[in-house]
């Protein structure tokens, strides 16, 4: 039985456990129908031309954890931003861990999606936002059908969250291969400010496939600053679909740091519904061995006077593969737009591959749209300059790579996170520079 059939069968069992009159019942059943019809994406689809999930679908996954995974904080401390106070939402094998988490309902809601789905208090929010941004593609709707747990963050009007929120999903591998489907819902009301860090981490060498969906809604003048750290084990794969809808004058930024994992696919879709929105999409990808990272972005401009900025840097070693498929879609109403997209890549090894497809689709005439895409190597003149001043080749290369990624790193607004990522980059490149950027 292949994975699709197994999922369809297990859906029937999953459905039985849910409350009969759950408001999501109809949504789930139509979602599973979409998945049944479309299935997992294949390379024949234009959007998946360069990424195949086939190797992942052969694994015998279990879909839910039977035993409660317990983790000692000291074992996983390194995955947290421990030197700064944060709200924490921690899930182990898809199950909420109250022991490791720190939630709040004090003025803001940082809690579980499961409880938000259950409690009538949250019904209006769920009704207004849940699955409203997610697209009708097979893999996203698969997640919708199985929605059970995840982060629920609701920031009311004019509220600035006092500390960053960390969302971490651990998988223990206690029961062999796992297929996880977390679902996050983030609603920032008018003029609300929030910073969120999301991470998926496998703790064993057993295979993990995570199919996560995040929906973010930014109301008028809201500011959402979102960071994704993807530095997982080589046995872990991730399909991350994030859908963001912005209202007027809101600013949303998404920073994706992809340093590890077997196959990592990021579907990131912005939709600007109001005027004067700003969307920022940044990414640094540094991978080696047989890793595969695919960034698929779409910025959909509907309203006037908006902006979007994309900047993705990639460094590819060994036989790794990088994919960048960025699309800027400008409706004819979206005049006076400033959209910029940049993708720079460096190939370190002969076996590494880059596939880039930066697209523009423009229907409005009074716009400023441009994109640039480069693929090259480290500048040999710059290397020579440094080496002639006594800097070793390894360090010189590392310096150049730092400089290359620095633009994006500079945009990280949480200092502790910045130095953390800085360390990750140093680890990746394999040298210590002896200073922090």
């Amino acid at each position: 039985m292949d994975l699709k059939d197994k999922l369809l069968t297990s859906y029937i069992a999953f459905e039985d456990h849910l409350k009969e009159n759950s408001p999501l019942h109809d949504l789930r059943s139509s979602a599973i129908k979409v998945f049944e019809e479309k299935g997992f994406p294949s390379k024949k689809e234009e959007n998946w031309k360069y990424t195949s999930l086939n190797s992942l679908l052969k694994e015998q996954y279990s879909f839910s954890s039977k035993t409660e995974g317990a983790i000692d904080f000291k074992d996983v401390k390194k995955y947290f931003l421990h030197n700064v106070d944060t709200y924490k939402l921690v899930f182990i094998d898809g199950v909420y861990s109250s022991f490791l988490s720190e939630t709040t309902h004090d003025g803001i809601d940082v809690c579980l999606l499961s409880s938000a789905l259950d409690k009538s208090k949250y019904e209006p929010v769920i009704e207004a936002y849940f699955n409203k941004a997610a697209k009708e593609d097979g893999i996203t709707q698969l997640n919708t059908a199985f929605t059970k747990e995840g982060a629920f963050i609701h920031i009311p009007k004019n509220k600035e969250v006092d500390k960053p929120i960390e969302i971490i999903y651990f998988s223990t591998g206690n029961e062999g291969a796992m297929f996880l489907q977390p679902r996050n819902l983030i609603v920032a009301d008018e003029n609300a400010h929030v910073q969120i860090i999301e991470r998926h981490q496998s703790l064993s060498s057993n295979a993990v496939l995570t199919n996560t969906v995040t929906e973010i809604f930014a109301d008028k003048r809201a500011m959402v600053d979102y960071y994704k750290i993807q530095n997982d084990k080589p046995s872990a794969s991730l399909v991350d679909s994030t859908y963001i809808i912005q209202q007027r004058e809101s600013i949303c930024s998404m920073h994706t740091f992809s340093f590890g994992g077997q196959i990592t696919r990021n579907n990131l879709q912005f939709r600007q519904e109001g005027e004067h929105c700003d969307s920022i999409l940044n990414g640094i990808t540094i991978i080696q061995e047989k890793q595969h990272v695919d960034h698929n972005t779409l910025v959909h401009h509907i309203a006037e006077n908006c902006e979007s900025h994309q900047d993705y840097k990639g460094i590819f070693d060994d036989s790794s593969t990088g994919v960048f498929n960025g699309k800027v879609y400008v409706e004819k109403e979206a005049q006076k737009l400033d959209a910029f997209q940049q993708n720079n890549n460096i190939l370190i090894s002969d076996d590494a591959t880059i596939n880039a497809k930066p697209q523009l689709e423009i229907f409005a005439d009074d716009v400023k749209c441009s994109h640039g895409c480069t693929i090259g190597q480290l500048d040999s003149d710059a290397l020579f300059y440094m080496r002639s001043r006594g800097i070793g080749q390894k360090e010189a290369k590392a310096l150049l790579m730092y400089a290359f990624a620095n633009n994006v790193l500079e945009s990280v607004k949480i200092p502790e996170l910045k130095s953390r990522i800085n360390k990750l980059i140093a680890d990746k490149i394999g040298v210590s520079l002896g200073f922090e950027l």
């Binding site: 004819k332 880039a356 423009i362 005439d365």
Partner: protein, 482 residues
């Protein structure tokens, strides 16, 4: 004097007739409509082709039957009914003329209307021409002058008869029969086209040129061009196309194959001005063309195209850079107005070491048209030190049209250097104002700005064509600024 407003200009342009939309009343012999193996055989027989050619066509036809029409392009149109087209139409009488004096005077008049009077061309421009109307090559000028240098320039049917060894060796070597749906169709039913062979070390002294015209109703034009430049030779080849205006859609599915051997250089320029349909988007030519060239060591292929016509264009002139140090170039201006749709671009496949390619694409969309650039730059694992530069600029006029860019970049070698950039802009009011202020009316100002925008490509065209192309740009665009 009342002010000449943009609306007036718009109106004038919309009502502007397609200048080449005349139909020449020449008696012609047309095959019954429809397509089956018998028709393929009949075409082959009509052309007095050897058996291997007939077999090749039949083979292609069988591939074609199994293939499906591609749908990935960013164009929407009613699919042509391949059984409602006549696959062969020849101006009556002898299909081939020895000298220009034998040509039907009415036909000559056609050329005069097209502005390509053969005599004139002969005298003034020194361009050797092969003219293809509907399906048959009607006149080739300057043949004897070329023959002195050993250059073969004739229709492909003649080449099949007289130089079978060359044709047999190279036909389908760059665009195989089953390459794609339209290439397979063309391979089965191509009726004529040009053939050109430049011997070793010869620099072709004049521009070679082909003029295509669809004349009969319900005919499709399927020409096949094969250009072979032997070691160290050079040739510049021009191609122009027109069709009369008709309500129904005419089909044009050509295949062009270029072979540049070691150290050879081929410059291939196209000015495509098929009937684009009227301002409601009715009629017009479907232009589904497969063009590809292969470069051996140190060879160079340069594609230059000015695409102003056709209701639907689907065309990707490509270069396979097989030999070390070979160079591929693609310069394109694609203009769409009213309901035209264009999906055009190039493929640069880098296989040899130190290969270089340049892509400059200028898309101009106006009216309710859609203009897409679609290109592939592929660097193979062994293509060390490959270099590519791509630039795609779009100019939008009015907010009812669209500009799209779909570049694909696939790199498997770390020494590759790829740069791609794309911009979108519009004609600024300040630019128009600046010109107006200096006494240049809006119409002229737009022409000026568009010419400036496309200068990089226009400069690449041979002199005679550049003038025509500039004129075409003006005709297709003026007044469409909103």
């Amino acid at each position: 004097m009342s002010k000449y407003t943009e609306d007036d200009l718009k109106k004038e342009l919309e009502t502007k007739e397609y200048e080449y939309g005349f139909y020449t009343d020449i008696e012609s012999e047309t095959f019954p409509i429809g397509l089956n193996e018998d028709i393929v055989r009949a075409i082959s027989k009509k052309k007095e082709e050897p058996q291997w050619m007939t077999d090749w066509r039949i083979e292609s036809f069988r591939y074609w039957l199994k293939m499906e029409e591609p749908e990935w392009a960013n164009v929407h149109y009613e699919k042509p009914d391949f059984q409602a087209i006549s696959y062969y139409s020849a101006p009556n009488g002898k299909p081939k003329y020895d000298s220009i004096d034998d040509v039907d005077p009415e036909l000559l008049e056609t050329f005069a209307k097209l502005g390509i009077s053969l005599d004139e061309q002969k005298k003034l421009a020194g361009v050797a021409m092969d003219v293809v109307i509907d399906s048959v090559s009607v006149a080739t000028t300057f043949k004897s002058t070329l023959a002195e240098k050993g250059i073969i320039f004739c229709s492909i049917s003649e080449a099949i008869r007289e130089h079978p060894e060359l044709v047999r060796k190279y036909i389908g070597s760059v665009v195989p029969q089953r390459d794609n749906f339209y290439a397979a169709l063309n391979s089965a039913v191509f009726s004529d086209g040009s053939f050109c062979y430049i011997p070793k070390g010869v620099r072709c002294p004049m521009e070679l040129s082909t003029y295509f015209r669809i004349n009969q109703a319900n005919t499709g034009q399927f020409e096949r061009t094969l250009v072979i430049a032997d070691e160290g030779s050079y040739v510049s080849y021009l191609e122009g196309c027109t069709a009369p205006s008709r309500d129904e859609n005419q089909l044009h599915a050509a295949v062009v194959e270029l072979i540049a051997m070691d150290d050879a250089e081929i410059k291939y320029s196209t000015v495509q001005n098929w009937f684009p349909g009227n301002k409601e988007g009715k009629g017009g030519v479907y232009n589904f063309v497969t063009k590809r060239g292969i470069c051996e060591k140190n060879a160079k292929i340069s594609w230059t195209q000015v695409e102003t016509g056709s209701a639907v264009t689907w065309k990707y002139p490509s270069c396979i850079l097989k030999g070390d140090n070979s160079i591929g170039e693609f310069y394109s201006i694609a203009v769409t107005n009213n309901y035209q749709q264009a999906d055009t671009g190039t493929k640069m496949i880098h296989i040899g070491k130190n290969t270089r390619s340049t892509i400059i694409s200028k898309g101009i969309s106006a009216g309710k048209s859609q203009n897409s650039y679609r290109g592939l730059v592929k660097i193979n694992k062994r293509a060390h030190n490959a270099r590519n530069f791509s630039q795609c600029d779009s100019l939008l006029m009015g907010n009812a049209c669209g500009a799209h860019t779909f570049p694909y970049i696939e790199v498997n070698n770390k020494t590759a250097q790829i740069e791609h950039e794309a911009t979108t802009s519009k004609i600024g009011e300040d630019q128009i104002f600046y010109c107006n202020q200096r006494g240049i009316d809006t119409e002229k100002a737009i022409a000026l700005i568009v010419n400036g925008f496309s200068k990089e490509v226009l400069n690449k065209l041979p002199m005679e064509f550049a003038v025509e192309a500039q004129k075409l740009l003006e005709i297709s665009l003026e007044g469409s600024v909103g």
